[in-house]
Amino acid sequence: MALATERQRIQHLLRRAGFGYSPEELREYVALGLPGTIDRLLNPERVDDAAASAAAGAFREKAIQDRQALLSTWHARLVLTKRPLQEKLTYFWHDHWATGIRKVNAPSYMLVQNEAIRAGALGKFRDLAMAMTRDPAMMIWLDNRDNVAKAPNENFAREFLELFTLGEGRLYTEKDVKEAARALTGWRVTAAKVNPDDNFPVATGVVFMPRQFDAGTKTFLGQTGKLGDEDIVRIVTSKRECADYIGEKLWRFFAVSNPTAAMIQRTTDAYFANDTSIREMLRVILTSEEMYSEAAYRWRIKSPVEHVVNTTRALGLTDRVPRIARDTQSEGQALFDPPSVAGWNWGEAWVNSNTLLARVNFANDVTRRGKPGQLMNLDAAALLQANNAGRTADAAVDFALDLLVGGDVDRATRATLIEHIGGTHYSLSEASRSGALQGLFYLVLTMPLAQLA
C-alpha cells in the first residue's frame, strides 16, 4: 500500500508542494502532523523566513545587473526557505508565465518579475494575471511595449489566451486575439525600479501612454466596449474555462497526471467562491483524497530544479548555491531562461541519456569527498552519526532511503545497497575509509526512484 503512514504522506506532500526535506525539517513537519503541515504550507506569511531572505538578499543588489547573481538570489531562497509552498508556486508560475532573460536582457526586470510572482503566488489569480500583464519583463518578452493603436502587435494577446489563461483554441477565436491586442495597447517600459532595501519592487517600471492606446470600441469574448487591459484580464478571469485551465494544471503539477472533470470542478468552485483565490484552489488539492492516492504516488519525474534543490536541501549542502545554476543547466533547466513562452516540457521530456548522465554526474559531485568545514560535498559518516543511523548497515541504508526517496523500497534494492557498504561485515569506519559510505548516497541518488517525485 502506497503512502500507508502519515510520515510517508508528509514526505510525499513535501516532494510535491515543496522541495523535499532535510532530516530536521522532516522531524518538525511530522510533529505537526499532516493537517498541521498543510496549514503551515498554505500560510507562509505566518512563518519567519529571515534566513532565506538574508541569503537571497546578499545577492540581490548585484542581481540588478548581474545574471549569475540573479540566479543565485533565487537559488539561495530555494535552498533555504521555510515557506516551501510559496517557493514551489513561484517556480510553478515562472514556468507558467514563462519569461526569458535572453530577450528581456536585463536582470533587473527579471528580478522585479520574480518578486512580483512570489508576492502573488498564493493570492488571487486575477491580480497575478494583471501584474503579469503590466510586468516590464513580460512586456519586453512578448512585445506588448511595442503594441500601439496604429499598428497592434498581437504577440502577448495570443499567448495570454493560448498559454496563460484559457488554453489553445478554447473559447476564443482569431478575432478575439486581434481585439485583445487592441485593448492591450498603450504601455511602455521605463527603467526598472528596484529598491535594494526592500523585498519588493517599489514600482513596476511601466507607464501608460494615452496617445498610443486604441480608445475605440472592441468586442472581446462577447463583451463590447472601449475595453482596456484591465477589462481583458477581468473578462478572461471571470470565465469558467480559465478556472478549469488553471485548476487542471495545478492538479497535474501537485497531484495526479489525469485529473477528472469532477476534480477540476472542485477547484473551479473554490476559485469562484473565493474571488479567484489560488490559495483556496491549493487547499482543495492538498487536502484531497486524490492527493494521497495510489495514482498520485511517484508518477511524476522530478524537474532538474526539483532534483538539484531537493538533494541540496536533504543533504544540507548550502554552500552549493552558486553552483546550482550550472547543475540545473546540465540537467536541462536554467531558471529565467525557459526554452519558449510555453515554459519547459515536463514529464518524460526531462529525461534523455544526456540529462540523465548529468543527474548521475551531479550525484557524483555532491558525494565526492569534500573539504572539512565546507557544506559543498556530503560527509556521509557525519550525517549518519548525527542522525544516529551509522551503527549498522541496515540503519544506514534505511536512513538514506528514507531521506532521499521516502523509503518504501523493494527488498532486492535494499539488499544491493546493504551489500555495497559491507553487508554483515559493515563498520562505519571501514565503509567510510573505503568510500562505500559516500557511495551509498551516490547510489541512492542515482536510483531510478530518486528521479521520481
Binding site: 511595442d146 502587435n153 536541462g332 513562452v341 557524483n364 544491493t416 559516500q438 551516490y442 536510483m447
Partner: protein, 435 residues
C-alpha cells in the same frame, strides 16, 4: 574542472589503451577485459555495428535535421525580390534587393546568408518554396507538433524520424544509429522501440567518478547497474511502473551508449574551423558521429530565437547568418571527408510569418515557408512554387503550395529507399529532389 576527464572508462586502464582493447574485444574475442568491464560487456552486450556496414563506398545515406525554432520569417530568408507586393507589405523591414544574394527565378537570399550562397553556388543547396499544411495552426507548439509527428492527429505520439528508425531497425544496430545533439530531445525522434541517445558533446558524454577511493569506483559502477536492473524488474508491478521503467531503461542505455561512443569515436580530425556557436558545435559533433564507425545515420540539431515580433531585421539576420555559417563549415568538413553527397540536411521552421509587417518592425505568426535541403546529392536550385504575396488567406498569410510531408516523403523514398507510406501513414506527391 580538474575531474572532468576522469571517467569510468579511464580506470583501470587509460582511455587510449582501453579503446584499443574495447574494439579488439568486439572484433575478436581474444582479449578478456577486467572483471568490471566484463560485467558490462557480457550482460549488456550490444555489439557495435560490423565494420562492413560502415562503408561509405556502399553509399550509406545520412540525414541531418536542423530545426529553427520560433517561426522563421521565410519572406526575409528567400526574398521574392521581383515582387512589388512584398515591398508594399513591408515598408520598414523589406530587405534591399541590391544587398541580397541572388538565386534563380527572381529570388535572393537574406544578405547575411553568405554561407548558404556559397553552398548554392557549389550546387549543394535546394530550396523548396511555399511549404506548409492544410488549415495552418498559428500556435508555435501545435504547429511544431504537426511537423514533428508529421500528423494532424493530436494523439500521434511518435515522431516521423522515430517511425523511420523503427521501420529500418535491425538486430545488429548500433545504439548510435541516430543521435540528438542538445539537452532537449526532439519530438521528431520519438519512437515505439528505438533508443536515441542525446548528447552535448563527445568529451562530456561520460560517467564521472570520484577517484579519491581506489576500489570504490568499479564497485560503485556494478552496484549502479544492478540497481537500474532491479528497478526495471520492479517496474513491472508498481503503479508508477511506466515512469520507473522509462528512467531505468534510459539509465542502462545511457551507460552502454557512453561505452560504445568512446570505444568508437577516436580518430575524428578536421581541417575546417567551425564558428564558435552552439549550433556549429552541434554540427561538428554530428560530423564526428557520422564519420565514426558508429554508423550514425540521423542527427538532430535545434537552434532557436526566430520569433521576431519586433525589430526583426537585426535579430533575424544575425540568426540566419549563424545558421548559414555553421552549415557551410559543416559541409566544408563533410566535403573534405569525401561524404558531402551522402549527408542530406533538412532545415525547417514551424511556420513562416505574416506578410504585412506589424507596428514594431517585426512580423506576427504566419503560415507557409521555404525549406532548405542541403547536400546529399540534392538537385540544386528552386523546387516547388512560390505562393503569391498578392493572393493571401483571410488572415493575410501565404497559401502553401507544397505539403511538408512531401519533402519528408521525397527524402525517405529517394535517399533511404523505403516506402514513405510506412513512416508517414499516407501518400504525398514526391518532389524531384534528387537527380
Amino acid at each position: 574542472m580538474d575531474y572532468a576527464n576522469e571517467t569510468f572508462l579511464d580506470r583501470p586502464v587509460d582511455r587510449r589503451s582501453f579503446i584499443k582493447r574495447g574494439i579488439a574485444f568486439v572484433g575478436a574475442s581474444a582479449y578478456t577485459p577486467p572483471a568490471f568491464l566484463r560485467a558490462v560487456f557480457d550482460e549488456e552486450t550490444r555489439p557495435l555495428t560490423p565494420a562492413s556496414v560502415v562503408d561509405y563506398a556502399a553509399k550509406r545515406h545520412v540525414l541531418v535535421v536542423l530545426q529553427m525554432a520560433g517561426g522563421n520569417d521565410g519572406l526575409n530568408t528567400v526574398i521574392p525580390v521581383g515582387d512589388r507586393a512584398y515591398f508594399d507589405a513591408r515598408p520598414t523591414i523589406a530587405l534591399n534587393p541590391e544587398a541580397s544574394l541572388p538565386l534563380a527565378q527572381g529570388f535572393a537570399l537574406n544578405p547575411a546568408m553568405t554561407g548558404m550562397k556559397t553552398l548554392y553556388d557549389r550546387g549543394q543547396l535546394g530550396v523548396v518554396l511555399g511549404v506548409g499544411y492544410p488549415n495552418p495552426n498559428r500556435s508555435h507548439f501545435r504547429s511544431m507538433d504537426i511537423w514533428h509527428s508529421a500528423s494532424m492527429d493530436e494523439t500521434t505520439d511518435t515522431g516521423w524520424i522515430g517511425r523511420l528508425l523503427d521501420a529500418t531497425k535491425h538486430e545488429q544496430d548500433s545504439m548510435w544509429r541516430a543521435a540528438n545533439i542538445g539537452s532537449q530531445q526532439a519530438l521528431s525522434l520519438r519512437s515505439q522501440s528505438s533508443f536515441v541517445p542525446s548528447l552535448g558533446s563527445v568529451p562530456d558524454y561520460v560517467f564521472q567518478t570520484d577517484n579519491s577511493f581506489r576500489a570504490e569506483g568499479p564497485r560503485r559502477q556494478q552496484s549502479f547497474l544492478q540497481l537500474q536492473r532491479q528497478a526495471e524488474a520492479l517496474a513491472v508491478q508498481a503503479e508508477y511502473g511506466s515512469q520507473l521503467a522509462f528512467v531505468s531503461k534510459t539509465g542502462l542505455d545511457a551507460y552502454q551508449s557512453t561505452v560504445d561512443l568512446h570505444a568508437a569515436v577516436t580518430e575524428y580530425k578536421t581541417t575546417v574551423t567551425y564558428p564558435t556557436t552552439p549550433l556549429a558545435s552541434a554540427l561538428k559533433t554530428s560530423a564526428q558521429l557520422i564519420t565514426s564507425n558508429l554508423a550514425t545515420g540521423v542527427c538532430y540539431v535545434t537552434t532557436g530565437g526566430f520569433d521576431t515580433h519586433s525589430n526583426q531585421q537585426v535579430t533575424q539576420n544575425g540568426l540566419l547568418g549563424g545558421v548559414s555559417n555553421a552549415l557551410l563549415a559543416f559541409y566544408d568538413d563533410l566535403q573534405a571527408q569525401g561524404i558531402a553527397d551522402q549527408v542530406t540536411t533538412v532545415v525547417w521552421s514551424e511556420f513562416g510569418r505574416r506578410v504585412k509587417e506589424n507596428g514594431s518592425r517585426g512580423t506576427d505568426h504566419g503560415t507557409a515557408n521555404p525549406m532548405f535541403v542541403v547536400g546529399g546529392g540534392v538537385r540544386p536550385g528552386m523546387h516547388g512554387e512560390q505562393p503569391s504575396v498578392a493572393n493571401l488567406d483571410g488572415s493575410g498569410d501565404l497559401k502553401y503550395t507544397t505539403d511538408f510531408r512531401s519533402v519528408y516523403a521525397s527524402v525517405i523514398a529517394q535517399r533511404f529507399k523505403i516506402d514513405p507510406k510506412d513512416v508517414l501513414g499516407g501518400s504525398y506527391p514526391a518532389l524531384p529532389l534528387y537527380a
